[in-house]
Symmetry: D2
Subunit: 115 residues, 4 copies
């Protein structure tokens, strides 16, 4: 699979098939999925919690910790897609609209190089 040719809809179908095969949509209400998402994000943080910012960069270049981080990131995407599936959310549109708000909130000339 390749990010250039894989569409959001492909990933949605991919996740939905997995959930349907296990009849797990009954557990996928918004409250539970928001918890699952946060837990996975916490597991991603767990890789970095005691490290300096420089050590974290190193961890992302070492095979074992990089692999762990990629797996945790995948879990976050999977639950985020499952949330969109269950609630009929157009992901591309959601991102597009939020980025428009961000562009207004953080004009490039005013926020260049700081936050």
């Amino acid at each position: 699979m390749d990010d250039k040719s894989t569409t959001i809809k492909d990933l949605k179908n991919f996740v939905e098939d997995f959930v349907k095969e296990r009849s797990w949509s009954q557990f996928h209400n918004a409250k539970n999925l928001s918890m699952a998402l946060t837990i996975e994000a916490g597991e991603l943080m767990d890789i970095f919690k005691w490290n300096t910012l420089e050590e974290c960069d190193l961890k992302m270049s070492e095979k074992s910790s990089r692999g762990e981080a990629i797996d945790e990131l995948a879990d976050i995407f999977i639950y985020a897609i499952a949330f969109a599936n269950r609630n009929h959310i157009n992901i591309s549109q959601a991102i597009n609209q939020k980025m428009l708000k961000n562009r207004i909130k953080y004009p490039a000339d005013k926020y260049k190089g700081h936050f």
Copy 2:
């Protein structure tokens, strides 16, 4: 924008342009982004924390709380994509490989209808 025609690479470019225009990649190390991701996931949970599972479904059908949740979900996607951009992660492949592990860990016949 449409999930059927939008590729992961499109979204990656979309987020990367926003980050580059603001020279924000300096803040986007793995530690900081994993925190940002968890904070946004926490904000998604915040919509549902005191509600029953049924009330949460209702909230996802009411315009104002649905809009809020979609914005928070978008933020999660944006930071997850930014994490992938910064660390040169193939998102489709990451999801594919994690789902393969999940299929082995949770065989459909054994986990049908329960977890």
Copy 3:
């Protein structure tokens, strides 16, 4: 140990001794500890994520899951106390002042039975 006779200062000393014996205060800056706190809170959630509210009550009365939850809650207290130790925070005063703000924000007569 007993909640009636144990003071906050007792717990602060208890945690500080553990940290000092390992020379771990070097890792206990505010950023790292806020991450550790959130990760532990995520682990507490992990016990409840797929359960209904009623099932969660049951889990808190079953020995094994109750024991797990108590351990996660202890971790949250330990990191919160470590955060206070490192940053010279008077915990009782902090709680007292936040509760005063809460009493003003949520007057009992107006918020009785709802949120």
Copy 4:
């Protein structure tokens, strides 16, 4: 209020009175409170997310950001105490028992100065 003379039981009563006056214990099941705890921990992280470790120390010495952090830490304590109240957990004992496990898992001589 003073950490030397305030007992855990004092804080438990303090939080319980607030919850009872508002009849909020109905919302305080284990699932909801674990979410509330994580959300507050996320808000504490939010103060530090884009800062270096050194900048975070500075933030803890500046009045306004220090005050914010203390308020978020208080919220974490309040929800952790509410969780203990609702589920009849002896906090001092929970911390004591978890620290005993930690002492076995991380012997001081083996973990001195690293993790």
